[in-house]
Symmetry: D2
Subunit: 429 residues, 4 copies
């Protein structure tokens, strides 16, 4: 099980052991968070793939180990012995391996390797990773530590995906089981919207500073914006119900053509996870079915629904730059996964700028001027997805704390509703 590590004999690694310790600790902490998220699952739950675009929890877990094995261990350890060579085909994803990989739709068929084997795989990778971080030679440190940090950021993205997928898997079950029975429901009343004004100007957009950022946040650059204003909170269920009651889903003049086609073809009349019953609206949450709370922000809407709502309200969705400028001035605090709701909360005295729900923007996800994807690295996929998607900003109640920032660019197709996505209005001045 011991692999020879790339240590030049005699050359004592000069990396401060505090740096190594810090990285080992971050690694342990983030990897442990994934395991924590899996605790409420029964063995049966790991195997389910309720839609083609969903990965069974078991696959997520294996994939996160595969990523580290493939992009880190195999790169820095001479003659690295993979845990199981067949796993490369099973657990790679289209983002990285454009050719030879198990088709997405078949992920749910992998009863073998068993969950037990996948846990062994995880342990094996963790041991190798820890060993590598502790002992890698100085001249590899910079690249290694950068890749490990990148890998951990990816693991955090998969943590959010994991909860999104579990939610959809459980919703597909007619018994509507809860992921956790011990979740508190957020409380609070709805308050009126105030508007924040932003003057015409040339603004700086994109990643600044020395902290971690994905390649798609760069380069930082200037944008000329006319004056605009932003609502100081997200749209509530109550406001969205007004839109529904006013015939929002039956009025084609409110909708983009593709949006209208979608809601008519799929016969959609409300956000994902809503259910109308004899005793009023209910909403499926990670804590099971709950009575719909009108003061909570409306959640799991597509871009099309967000856009139609804004048009109905006589407003518009914000541009990415408009939101980013606002976020630049806010502390990165909010209702993240560590709040323990796993559900968005009424605004109260916050502006719901970070956390709660990803805000749909009216900006297609495209490259910044001068964008260059990081060649060969784990995040090169960011560039390949720059088509047909819209940007979302700010993080959500299932985002790990510390993961997002003002320049962070999330993206989904305009029809997708599985993300914890919400609506913030904007307007011209």
């Amino acid at each position: 099980m011991e692999n020879p590590v790339s240590i030049s004999p005699g050359a004592a690694p000069a990396v401060p052991s505090a740096s190594r310790d810090k990285l080992v600790a971050a690694y342990a902490r983030i990897r442990a968070a994934t395991q924590q998220l899996c605790k409420p699952l029964a063995a049966d739950d790991y195997q389910v793939q309720s839609e083609e675009w969903i990965s069974p929890p078991k696959w997520h877990i294996a994939h996160m180990s595969w990523l580290l094995e493939n992009f880190v261990l195999a790169r820095f350890i001479t003659d690295y012995t993979p845990f199981n060579e067949a796993f490369d085909y099973l657990f790679s994803s289209a983002s990285y391996t454009q050719g030879h990989m198990l088709p997405r739709a078949q992920r749910g068929l992998l009863s073998r390797p068993t969950l037990a084997e996948i846990r062994d795989y995880r342990e094996y990778v963790d041991e190798q990773m820890t060993n590598l971080v502790t002992s890698v030679a100085e001249y590899d440190w910079r690249e290694l530590s950068s890749l490990v940090r990148l890998g951990l950021q990816h693991e955090q993205q998969h943590q959010e995906l994991l909860l999104m997928d579990i939610k959809q898997n459980f919703f597909a079950n007619p018994m509507k089981p809860a992921y956790r029975h011990d979740l508190r429901s957020p409380r609070g009343e709805q308050r009126p919207i105030s508007w924040l004004l932003f003057g015409r100007g040339v603004y700086q957009i994109g990643h600044a500073g020395n902290g971690f950022a994905f390649d798609n946040e760069s380069p930082r650059h200037e944008q000329l914006l006319p004056g605009y204003r932003l609502a100081d909170r997200q749209i509530t269920n109550s406001e969205y119900l007004d839109f529904i009651m006013d015939g929002g889903y039956d009025n084609p003049s409110l909708w983009l053509a593709e949006g209208w086609a979608m809601i008519k073809q799929q016969e959609l009349t409300h956000p994902l996870y809503w259910q109308r019953g004899d005793s009023g609206w209910k909403q499926f949450t990670l804590g099971g079915l709950r009575k719909l709370n009108p003061a909570e922000p409306v959640c799991h809407v597509s871009y099309y629904e967000a856009d139609a709502f804004a048009r109905w309200a006589g407003k518009r969705l914000p541009l990415e730059a408009e939101i980013e400028i606002a976020l630049q001035k806010k502390a990165v605090h909010g209702n993240f996964i560590d709040n323990g709701f796993l559900h968005p909360s009424p605004a109260g005295d916050t502006g719901q700028w970070f956390g709660d729900l990803w805000t749909w923007t009216a900006s297609p996800y495209t490259a910044y001027p001068g964008f260059k994807p990081v060649a060969g690295a784990m995040d090169e996929y960011n560039g390949r997805l720059m088509s047909g998607r819209m940007v979302l900003k700010g993080g959500s109640c299932v985002t790990p704390p510390g993961h997002v920032r003002a320049s962070y660019r999330n993206f989904f197709h305009p029809h997708e509703r599985r993300a914890f996505s919400g609506i913030r209005l904007a307007d011209d001045i």
Copy 2:
């Protein structure tokens, strides 16, 4: 948990306790056989549904309990308390519940109820059933015992289905896992075909006697047949390879139109579970991938392939009646599931009449003259399926011993290849 049973107080049940004991024992034996079949499965394997027409093993197990609960317990026990009322929606099948049921394609999504709960369900039903058989009043005995026997026959059908589905699930896994590693491979050489002759005459067809039979085997009736002859064994892999090598899959004049369309659309060039590799042909079995044994009978062919082979060979497939007449004179012995191969075996000195592989016949599955489906019973579905299917006869290496007889009518669509099905040739005289 105790349900009140329909016992008239004071009226001692006059059913001989030996009869009750015999039925309890049969019940226990057949139910235990199902559990035995599940032993080699990992927890993960129970959840997989690799095709829409497949049921995950977990679902099979629950369904067999649902059948007894719904058709027996709920009928004979006053105010019967079902284990879980929601299970009716989850575990009924289209054969019985034409309306309100979980769509087939969603069976693989049921991570809840968990396997543990489904085992509890099974135990609950077994306890109730044993109790009922032991104590039901005399005037209900005849109907009850008849229904229990019918239910057990169904369970045996599901045992065969279970192995068919497991085989397909494991084959869908790129790792090609074996269901059991301890299975012996059958041995033997290929021998020449001899022909059995049957003269022109009016023959009796259909179920006779007092033993159990499904409704579709009745009524017994006469058929006028010209003389014919039957091969005294099934077609081997070696003979089928000759067909392949001779361009069988590329010669449209050998195929029924629908068969030709199917093989071209799906690009089929060999039976299901065959794989051509650098070192020759392999065959996926319940014991994993094996080198193809030319002396074994060819297996997992569709009706279209069987028919094309027969045409290529200058012969034809037998009619159901032609096979049944031959079977009437044979003892019901052969390579059934208790042989422990779970795979067909070379003919040796047997005729492969019973067991080994279900024989495709050229007879569409239709009603016998005067056929009346048993109203409201568990097998009423037999009549509803009398369209578009072909009859197969004789049982297979995954059929429980004692389950088939000469008049037994199995049926599949002509395109299906998942059954353990083979080819026996017939000819006119």
Copy 3:
């Protein structure tokens, strides 16, 4: 344009010129009938293909010429020059050319060759054919005349298909245009059903005598039948409405499983071409939309609907042999295409045995014992279609007179409703 015909110089053809004249006349008459059927079409109508299984009228016309060119002219005329070599790919059908042919679904795309060119094609073929029949050498006469007769029978089948396809094309048009405005509506009242009895016995089935028959009607053979009885007319719209009103389309116990799946998936609640409006039921006919006449026989039902109706009525559909035995004793008279209704007529004092509507039988379309397809001939396709279809007997109101006989076997898939098909009940004695 003149092709050298296979005439041995000096050898005077000894075929009686009356025989030649008779065949030339039959040829001219049947080919003219096709042109007559096309008269009511606008140029635009020739191009339409409203479903994949429909051929545009233009294609039918070209195909009928292709058939003669390919199977007759190219065979008997040395160095025959086809009208246009590209037509072989465009106008062959899967029945004859299993490989290289224009996919069915693309027939509607052939705006070129234009209708004018296809008419030239037809004239060219007619001239060549007439010339060939008039002058072919004696030693080829027997085979040629047999093939020409077969070709003309095919042309008659396409005449019926042409009207079926035109009906469906026009129905697909929201304007619901009439094919002909001058068609009379049949008249008459509904009369009670009487039952004809047939005793148990061994009957002769299949083609007898010297007249023309397709290969699938042979060989004539014996069948043993228990006694049975047949209704002396077809089921009326009025009787079928009773079935509908009684919830026939909502009662799964009346339907074969595939039939139930079909009507639920396609949301069928009545026969094809029916429409329910404010002023009651209407029916689309070749004469346009008409008020539904309750006394007419119900038309354009699938086998599944016919079978469900029979089960609802406490009866069953007849076997092919049962109908054929009855037809053997009837004169081949009835409401055929020459009646000029192009629509079924109330029974009146007829038994609707021939003409009016093809009767669905409960017999799958399979080979007769000892059946051998005619090698290489135009009707070899009959054998290739012997899977998944049911037999219909007796001809219809769009069948050319003289085309059918007692042993004639028409066949459609059980879900098909486009044929002029109806229901006759049978019962056991």
Copy 4:
């Protein structure tokens, strides 16, 4: 047939008759151009719909009349009598009528109304329109003339669409007929690319001045652009062949994820309308199949192909603003439809800025800041399509002269290849 027009009796219309004459003349000229385009069609060609997104020529013609009838005649003429009320359902399109309309895929089924009736419809509308323009009251003139101009611009868009659709219909025909046999092939050699430089600055974008423009070109606004450079001609077939030969279609790192999925799923290896034969590459044109001319600009590529080519070439596609700034300085001359090629031409000494081929830009089609769709007018659809599409600029060889301008925004989905679209490279400085 005469409809009462909204003329106040006694109030002499004060619109200068020269204005009226000018509009009547423009109307006559543009409507005649449509008829001119149809001249080479056979009657059969008008009916064909080779793909769901294509409209048969007949439908285009009827739709253009419907547009005028519905948005102009019915608005200005009191109690206007439509030519045929049923046409509203048949000939409206989703852009205008979001609910009740004939599904797109059924347009090819409309053999009725016949072509003759549709020509009568056109004549009727033309007569009414001419009459209306000549006699409308002064107070309606402004709005009417504006709507007529808008309607004529739409007719010109349909002229281009008509040729795109005819090209695809004829290509779908295995006989590959030519739309016109008398088209000249463009001539010329390939010349090296020079680069035009544009400095960093705030630029004015969008429609300026008093001429006609669609609503999506407004409002004019400022954009801040870093410096950039543009190629002074479009990419040639020769250059694109280099990309193909270099494995462009097999290298996933060159492609956007959706583009890669598309070319692999559809097995694309070259632009639309190319064919590789024994004697080299051919290209289907409106003049039929021709040998591929390496000096012509590459045509009928998707956005994905344009983007992949640019990445392969180490460059990028231009932003809309970058192209528009260049176009602002060019005269609107080029290879438009009046050149008579109906095909792009080698650059020669032109820059191919206007005409030849629409240039794909890297800009998603979204609203300009402050964009307001014109309520209730014919072009309100522009806003509804602002999702999932990319902007193309400059017009093509099938665009009517005078139709485009620098601010003109054409748009297609990134996978579409049916437009006459090409590639111009851009780069950062």
